[in-house]
Symmetry: C2
Subunit: 283 residues, 2 copies
DNA sequence: CTAAAAAATTCCATTATCCGGAACACAATT
DNA sequence: AATTGTGTTCCGGATAATGGAATTTTTTAG
């Protein structure tokens, strides 16, 4: 299987980000000048299931040979891309260095951290924090029940929003027009037999989530994994995220999910509150 | 039209990387064209101890207002930088997404992983894998003794090579001329009272390390932390890295470090061998 | 081992793109 | 209202990116 190629294209961060209000409705500007071309290359290399050679990148990109070669060379020079001895390319180490800082300095994450920890202690299960970026959820933090699994395996991962608890919770906090816009960009793919596979199903599910204030994921993304999630957002919706308690199906029964609902909601509310207070326009 | 001399300046990754041979001793080339300027901005934001505003970045960079503003806007648009509501900038989420892939797909790391795990099981202590990048060591992987500390806190971190076990081990594997070049770029800073603070001291230490085939860090970087490390490298030195076993001073006594030496050296040798075999020019 | 094909890299005239000084908004401060 | 500091936009000009084609290197085939 092969993740749908279509990336969101545009940058959503925390600030201006989440609801891109005054955006020209062009959904197809393929690259903001030179930098855009460079990032497009990184995207191609990142999305590939195996290390790519020059010509492979050439075929996947729309840049002419000469141009592409120079752009790649620049990326290598900057340490964002690496040319290995076997003539294949890898994402560069410098990205790790940047990401390390991006993570540890991220204010939103720092604010949420104590609440995550508490939620983990209360439930004893794995807790995730994810933030909405276009139509995907990017996992920002995680507290694991059993630490046998490695952390990096999840943080920074981007999953489709429509089939994860955190993603659906976050979507439910978007204003209607913005939500519709994003749903329009989605590309529904069936991962399991409970996966939501149409805009209609998703909208129905979201209205239920809005009413109940919590979202479930009953093996919609990965078989054997279930969770409850709740939305996090600040007053002007410039930050839209979610938090979840996850467990293996045999432990995360309907009853258990019901039990976790209150603590998850409370943690989410607490984070929303703190974020509203500490990341206000003027501080 | 002479061979080589191809890629220049800086890019150190895995491939051609590690010994960048024919380079002018430029110390601070502030930007390879447009991309270089963009990365320079990311660097400034990453290095800052607190979130920066536009004017602060302006003062720290050598780009004129108009130029800087446009470059920053492009970065924000690409999701590599985030403009928050309080007018400060943060590194963007997209860096996390890229780094997640960069880490999980990194061939060198994947090859080393089983050896790291084994070393951790044998010693019962924390094990680090770091790769040399210029004058710094970037930590690529880590197996912790007690999993209470979070992983991300170390992976992707870049530390000066001269004051860490992994760094010194790696440096010891460089050819003399390349080593001299890099030492010339170093900026010695005293972290503790055992920190190496001059090129002479470092060279002396490195010759000892080369003889013994292992490097110590006796609280040179951080008080209370000691380790033994061994170098990893492939035949042509295009990959230069190190592996270490680390512990708190009270446990990592001289005797303990001596005990760990053999397993560390063996793990390093095994990784070097595997890397030589699997990342050969022709595969 | 040699020949042929494919892939990777370099070249260079053209022009699109980026540059950057300066003017313009927009706050916050007095 | 005046002032200062900060962020954003403009636009002619120069630089740096472009991309087609030639060259070199690597790989495959004979």
């Amino acid at each position: 299987m092969f993740g749908s190629a279509a990336f969101g294209k545009r940058g959503f961060g925390l600030g201006e980000a989440a609801l891109s209000s005054t955006e020209k409705p062009d959904l197809h500007d393929a690259g903001t000048g030179t930098l855009g071309k460079a990032v497009a290359i990184l995207d191609i290399v990142a999305a590939a299931p195996h290390p790519l050679r020059f010509t492979e990148i050439l075929n996947l990109s729309d840049q002419p040979r000469g141009t592409l070669h120079r752009n790649i060379s620049n990326l290598v020079q900057e340490g964002l891309l690496t040319l290995k001895r076997d003539h294949t390319y890898e994402l560069g180490l410098r990205l790790l260095v940047f990401a390390s800082r991006a993570w540890s300095a991220n204010e939103f994450r720092v604010i949420a951290e104590p609440h995550l920890r508490r939620l983990h202690e209360v439930t004893g299960e794995t807790v995730h924090l994810g933030i909405l970026r276009g139509t995907e959820v990017v996992y920002l933090d995680k507290f694991e029940s059993r630490q046998t699994v490695r952390m990096y395996s999840q943080i920074g991962n981007a999953s489709p929003a429509y089939c994860t608890g955190v993603g659906k919770a976050a979507l439910s906090a978007l204003p209607q027009d913005e939500l519709d816009r994003r749903i329009g960009l989605m590309d529904f793919h069936r991962f399991t037999d409970t996966t939501i596979t149409s805009a209609e199903m998703l909208k129905l599910e979201l209205s239920r989530i809005r009413q109940e204030g919590r979202a479930f994921d009953r093996e919609e993304h990965e078989a054997g994994i279930r969770c409850v999630a709740a939305p996090i957002f600040n007053p002007d919706r410039s930050i839209v995220a979610g938090i979840s308690v996850t467990g293996p199906a045999f432990r995360a029964t309907d009853a258990a999910l019901e039990d976790w609902t209150r603590p998850v909601r409370e943690a989410a509310a607490a984070i929303s509150r703190d974020v509203g207070a500490r990341l206000a326009p003027r501080s």
